[in-house]
């Protein structure tokens, strides 16, 4: 279980806390869809779980030895002068991954995401949708237990959205934690979905 206990977070030079005494538990085998107004703290919450941010007070417990996959909302989180494949290989190696696993993933989802159209292109020359697919490939080709997805559907075409839906559902089935920040309604009414709204520095179950 990912457990938030009385978490408060405030950014430097900002007068107010973005979260105040937030307590919440995230369970595996469910998709938590974080919703909320712009600036309500969806990305901050994801970054707190991923340890890209530290809490000001309170604590966040993440199960031991959990590996995290993260699809960031930042489009430029790759090396621009390297090709798509070189980038994915590099990040896979930093995660102790193997080229074989990466290539297997690419082959399996090539039809849906059309990887062969852009993996040999330099990252700077890719379209926004292709950059998003790169982030998805990096996150899902990694053997992880926690999936953090920040606006993963942005810029994707229909077939890629469906493939991403399938990837998320498979992750849930295999027992992963899935936390998704989006205001889209892709996962509205499934029994494995928990819609939660971030409002007034707290989480509200919807």
């Amino acid at each position: 279980m990912i457990r938030f206990t009385n978490v408060s977070k405030r950014f430097k030079n900002q007068p107010n806390n973005i979260f105040e005494n937030l307590s919440f538990n995230f369970e595996p085998k469910l998709v938590y869809v974080l919703r909320g107004a712009n600036g309500s703290g969806k990305t901050t919450l994801i970054k707190l779980i991923s340890s890209l941010l530290k809490v000001n007070s309170g604590s966040i417990e993440v199960p031991e030895k959990c590996k995290i996959s993260y699809v960031s909302s930042n489009e430029r989180s790759f090396f621009g002068r390297m090709t798509g494949h070189q980038n994915l290989e590099f990040f896979s190696k930093l995660d102790n991954g193997s080229n074989k696993k990466l290539d297997e993933f690419i082959a399996e989802y090539n039809e849906a995401f059309r990887f062969n159209e852009f993996l040999n292109k330099k990252f700077i020359h890719m379209s926004s949708g292709q950059k998003k697919k790169m982030a998805i490939a990096r996150a899902f080709s990694k053997k992880s237990n926690i999936l953090l997805l920040d606006e993963p559907f942005n810029f994707l075409d229909e077939s890629s959205r469906q493939a991403l839906n399938m990837l998320i559902k498979n992750s849930v089935k295999s027992g992963k934690y899935v936390i998704l920040a989006t205001n889209n309604h892709e996962f509205h009414s499934h029994d494995f979905v928990r819609n939660i709204v971030i409002r007034r520095k707290k989480i509200e179950n919807n």
Binding site: F11, K12, T44, K47, S50, S51, L52, L53, K54, N56, K67, I68, S69, Y70, S72, N74, R76, S77, F78, F79, G80, R81, M82, Q86, F90, F91, K93, L94, D95, N96, K122, R138
Partner: protein, 272 residues
């Protein structure tokens, strides 16, 4: 054993990544060593103006060899620090640093591997300088020289990797400006004993010179070309480089940890 294997593997992965990036700028990649002959030619003519019999000059060394060995040492020390600082800044701006933080590779490990590429490149440049001095002065090469230079170079590289972490930490904290790298380059050029021996400097300045990796490296390279290799001096240089490597590595890790904690608490890891 597993850690050593993983470290070497990471060095290779980061080295490959940097090569892929640098090689994508083909013109710059192939022209990057063009400055070496031009630098050497300028110093060759300038050295004609300098008295080789100055009491400050080491025994058996002419000014041209003295200064080119110094420039070669400075080139290595400056290139490594400058390159690492530049990469950290780029990765901070692009947001790649956040993605690296998510991986199983620790930041300390990743930052230390960033010096792999400039080290290889600088060693090639250093070899070019050395070969040119050998040819111009018709020195006899022997393997004894290599046995002297290799440990000093290895220790210098460790010091530079440590200092790179200090420099990277300041980039994480203060973002633009990179005053630590600039200050280091300025001090190395000014009091590192590059164009003049540190013996001409006031005593208290000489004390600070000894904390610069470039001072010992330049000393060693010059010693190689001196008429008689002074083993006493070489052992002294090795001791000093061991101490410097320890100081810079420990300092680098401590300051980098502090910078990471602070930027993660503030949420400013990829602010720029």
């Amino acid at each position: 054993m597993k850690t050593i294997r993983r470290t070497l593997e990471l060095w290779a992965v980061v080295l490959r990544k940097q090569f892929q990036i640098e090689f994508s700028y083909k013109t710059a990649f192939f022209l990057q060593n063009l400055s070496i002959p031009l630098t050497i030619v300028s110093w060759f003519f300038l050295s004609k103006l300098i008295d080789n019999n100055s009491p400050f000059m080491p025994d058996g060394l002419d000014y041209f060899t003295f200064v080119v060995a110094g420039v070669a040492a400075l080139d290595l020390c400056v290139s490594v620090i400058n390159y690492v600082a530049g990469r950290i800044r780029e990765e901070q701006i692009s947001g790649v640093l956040e993605e690296i933080k998510i991986t199983q590779t620790s930041f300390i490990m990743y930052f230390s591997t960033l010096s792999a590429y400039p080290t290889v490149l600088s060693l090639i440049r250093l070899s070019i300088y050395m070969v040119i001095i050998f040819f111009m002065n018709q020195f006899q090469f022997n393997f004894e020289i290599l046995m002297v230079v290799i440990p000093i170079l290895a220790l210098t590289i460790l010091s530079l990797a440590g200092f790179s972490m200090v420099s990277a930490s300041f980039i994480l904290l203060i973002k633009k400006g990179d005053y630590v790298t600039k200050g280091y380059i300025m001090m190395s050029s000014l009091i590192g004993g590059i164009a003049y021996p540190i013996a001409v400097l006031p005593d208290f300045v000489q004390f600070f010179s000894n904390f610069l990796p470039v001072t010992q490296l330049a000393d060693t390279l010059r010693n190689v070309f001196a008429e008689n290799l002074s083993y006493e001096l070489i052992i002294y240089d090795i001791y000093q480089q061991i101490i410097l490597a320890l100081i810079y590595m420990v300092l680098g890790v401590i300051i980098l940890k502090y910078a990471l904690n602070k930027t993660l608490a503030e949420g400013s890891l990829t602010d720029f």
